[in-house]
Subunit: 147 residues, 4 copies
């Protein structure tokens, strides 16, 4: 299962990520997954700067399982991959891991849909996007046309 | 469906809640739902101050659907209720709504489990908690003992 | 001194504003002062929505004194006024206060300068801005032309 | 002037650090300076984990000059040094820099005072702290006993 994730990036924690219980606050996990998503798309498009108004994808749904608290002093990495590409949507899978202990901290499944933020309308997933993901992941995606 | 939610609280947006697309950033929705959760438990326990180390519940899973962007200048409220109480867990349902247009912005389903953060161990949902929810919501919850 | 501040707004705290010491984290004070600034300018311009690209002012300097920690369960208001209007800049004075005890939590002095974010160039403080402040504060400002 | 700063650390930006003007929001600069401060003290004490309840210093005042906006895609580092150590307080100097262009983005001067958060009382700066700073910085500090 570990090999599923080709992409990973280490998180730089901020003191205020930790709440009064001295755990990374649940709301901050979303920022950590977001760092993974941004890094993933910069990597597959080989760019330092994404034009978000032309990005073409928006988040429609996130399911997050909180497995184990992240404590002060722990290192955390976020792993990201794409599980499925449909005509209108794609599905990301992500994990937060302590790379020293390999302990799973949290897992997220995210549905992103094709969307043009300028025109505010749904769009199909672009071929450019599918190609970049396929090239990076090194495996093919059977596209499901009704999703 | 609207009457399901007895509890609601208006969000005070912060300028930095909005990202470069001039929408409330997806990660910030979690803060908004969190404001709802904290307000809900303060209300049912009739207190201004919760001792989080004795709170007895932690978030195990959140499923969030992002329906419509929240724009600058829009008012937002968060509605919170409990859908189900089991022996080991309970299930919150929440909505983010523009109260002027009644437009649904996002919906979340959250599983919280009984947990003692001091001893780091799972605990059943306390009777005190079930009673407070039942009294506030004004309806009974059939407890499912295996969840 | 208290009467200096005509404008005040109560802060809605978020659980993650509090850090591992169970105090509002220093970095979050900036968000609280920011809520005061945004509310102040909405009030003097009598609008629910400021077009930030045409706002005409940017923050050049903030001096913040942290007087007393903000604890969980405390109410906090932010008070805002303008102390001085120059040709190129104006000076805000702000306080964070517990309105129940009147305890001063923090004070900030902020220099804002006239600036056009579209052209990325310094601009004088507009007459429209001076008039709105003068009308709201109910006192006149002797403009210092070299600042 | 550049050589004054022995310590620097690169910031990992988060998408939501950027506000609707596509600049890092002013409030987030405080988080960036905070990352520098935490990294500085971890470095001089050679630890991955600081016990904040025994840290012995709290921030009393921060003066921040905002020089130039931080844009999407820019790298940012934070440089930190200690300028002065008194009996009761010490003074940090920090800069945010784009390391590719060497452009100064912001500068901060921070006064930290000796403080015991457990007993809520002022304390002198500890000798252990002075020694760690002196050893790391490789220069001596003439201590001013009335500050």
């Amino acid at each position: 299962m570990e090999n599923l994730y080709k992409h990973s990036v280490e998180i730089q924690p901020r003191f205020n990520d930790f709440d009064a219980l001295e755990h990374v606050n649940n709301t901050v996990y979303m920022n950590y997954f977001d760092i993974g998503k941004v890094s993933y798309f910069k990597t597959i498009w080989d760019t330092d700067l994404i034009d978000w108004k032309e990005f073409g994808l928006v988040v429609a749904r996130i399911e997050t399982d909180f497995i184990s608290p992240i404590l002060m002093g722990e290192r955390v990495i976020v792993r990201t991959t794409i599980l499925r590409i449909g005509n209108k949507s794609l599905e990301l899978s992500q994990q937060l891991i302590n790379p020293d202990t390999n302990q799973l901290k949290a897992a997220a499944r995210t549905i992103m849909v094709g969307f043009d933020v300028e025109t505010n309308s749904a769009e199909p997933i672009t071929e450019k996007c599918v190609e970049a993901i396929t090239r990076y992941e090194g495996r093919t995606f059977k596209r499901e046309i009704n999703r």
